[in-house]
Symmetry: D2
Amino acid sequence: MLQFAKVADKVSQEYDVRIILTPQPSDIYLLAKETKHLLIFAQHMDPISIGRGNGSILPEALKAAGAVGVILNHAEKPMSLAGLSLAIHRADEVGLATMVCADSIKEARAIAHLAPNIIVAEPTELIGTGQTSDEEYVIATTTAIKKVNPEIQVLQAAGISNAQDVYKVIKAGADATGTTSGIMKAENPETMMIEMIRAVRKAWDETHRF
Amino acid sequence: MLQFAKVADKVSQEYDVRIILTPQPSDIYLLAKETKHLLIFAQHMDPISIGRGNGSILPEALKAAGAVGVILNHAEKPMSLAGLSLAIHRADEVGLATMVCADSIKEARAIAHLAPNIIVAEPTELIGTGQTSDEEYVIATTTAIKKVNPEIQVLQAAGISNAQDVYKVIKAGADATGTTSGIMKAENPETMMIEMIRAVRKAWDETHRF
Amino acid sequence: MLQFAKVADKVSQEYDVRIILTPQPSDIYLLAKETKHLLIFAQHMDPISIGRGNGSILPEALKAAGAVGVILNHAEKPMSLAGLSLAIHRADEVGLATMVCADSIKEARAIAHLAPNIIVAEPTELIGTGQTSDEEYVIATTTAIKKVNPEIQVLQAAGISNAQDVYKVIKAGADATGTTSGIMKAENPETMMIEMIRAVRKAWDETHRF
Amino acid sequence: MLQFAKVADKVSQEYDVRIILTPQPSDIYLLAKETKHLLIFAQHMDPISIGRGNGSILPEALKAAGAVGVILNHAEKPMSLAGLSLAIHRADEVGLATMVCADSIKEARAIAHLAPNIIVAEPTELIGTGQTSDEEYVIATTTAIKKVNPEIQVLQAAGISNAQDVYKVIKAGADATGTTSGIMKAENPETMMIEMIRAVRKAWDETHRF
């Protein structure tokens, strides 16, 4: 993981593309310390404060270890609405960016009212299948979210398996994209990651600069 | 409970006020069978379909027993956002009205995007305290919810301890109100309930008829 | 369900075999009222007392509706050890028999220390597969449980699909057996149930009377 | 925390007393790297394997970060019996010692069948109150656990607020003791910790060496 993170760190600088890495909490410190450009986000955080909560993930501890953000409400770690709302508040308090997962347009709209920094539009049924959200879905979710709160960045995530998928989704208007399986299942994960970052750069430049 | 329900049933007819009663699931059948006007809502329902789910509450079973609706996301039974969204969908499928609890204005707005029939605006910190949501909060939540979806009924719930509280909250624009502790802790729960229904009638007529 | 329960009720009397039926909580009242010999057990119960707990299953309410027992810790509704321990205590207090699920021999032994009335030895991986726990497993779990507490009845549950499976498991020393899928997926569930009860009678008589 | 850990590390060596420190997962790496004698245990671990499980705590990740053990089933992070059983199995697989919390004698006995390395006998009602488990409780739980499995170490935890409490509990036969509030609420936590370690040494020597 450390080796992969170092490659990603260089690539982030070289292509001027912001890369978020989401390791296990116990890997945050080392990865944050050994990289300069990567944005290390925790995979989850509990909406607790200093005091009770043995076994829960404390916001302040993530921040102290070097995390700059946190994923909330991942399909594999669903949160109650009240818990999610409080967690976003706690993250704001300690200075962690929030990236909240939604698995339908109406959930994305609902979450937008809680004002996270990023919403991950990731229809659960597509996770890990290699089937991308189509352009129509990308446009519909992005529009729906920005209508509620235009400051929220929209990350389109489901079914990204190669650089071409990345290119398409950024061209369709996504602020960001992401994948775990698309990289980890690739023959050469580092190469795949580099190609994906190049695709982000190309799609973004074609869409936003000219 | 049956005796109380029968009194409520008569009062509902007499004052032409719709009363929702939310018993334990095992009490639904008897209460639905022995009353004519009461609306029996389950306290919770799981977002499952017929098949696996031993120990969970099946939507179809509630409907078959005589329930006409269900509470979802009560502060004492929080649901994940995805679970809540699916539960509302399942309730719509089987023909159960949905009453979803929210404990802040932003949560109320978020929930409104999931299109339940009723939102209970009940700041958690006030439950059971005898301190009512003030008029400003009533107006703010009602406005926020209706702006997202004007068809949603807004039930203002926290801190209702007597008929005067009921009167105030309906006058402030709530579509409905509710209490458990306000009735159950009263010296005479039946009398308190009757007084509260009268207060609803009076406040509603003053606000809506003239 | 009511029709099925009435048939089971007659069969229970005719063959002098105790039958436990485990319906949804909202079906308990009607099934308990309309049958005489069936033992109606709830599918789950929360370890709560009268007071807070909207959306949870109250022991007293199950008892009042006519349940005589409750399943706890089903593989589809796992409980924490502390919650399970408290739930058994609450069930004892209100007079509900407890039937606790275990999915390995070591879990069965652990649960035996909490002194439920019945332990369901049901290796999770076999549920609904049609593959029975073999005789060796039946003997091993029964022996392990009785060694900790000989008063606990052992119900061997996994993979029962026909009367022959029932016969084998009772002959192997089980105090009881059970199935949902084996009956519900049968061409004629009532016939299958009757055949299974006959198999219990036959196996029990061969094992215990002579 | 790092400074405190370094003091504990020296004290552990000086008094030849094994000290377990249980930090947030994101602090494990640094604390394990900067100390030599301390035993770093994670506060919780999920019973998962490499693959899915975003937001859960992966056993392999804790091990890689330098943890040598893990707390399971803390009163603030209760686990299902099946989950606890699987977590102990996973910990054994990756080489992490297991310390499982029990809050009654019967739960302690039940957990003993799952063969963890350490059982924490900590009646929930005493946590953080400053009231120690009395000698009778210490003897009863230790005896009950060792009877099921004599290899399990018994840590008596509740209500330890000073060195005298530590001395008494070790003299009463506990293999170990522990506290969070007793140290963190002390005027000088480092001094309190050192006094407690001295008390362990003294009580242990009086009980076991002579």
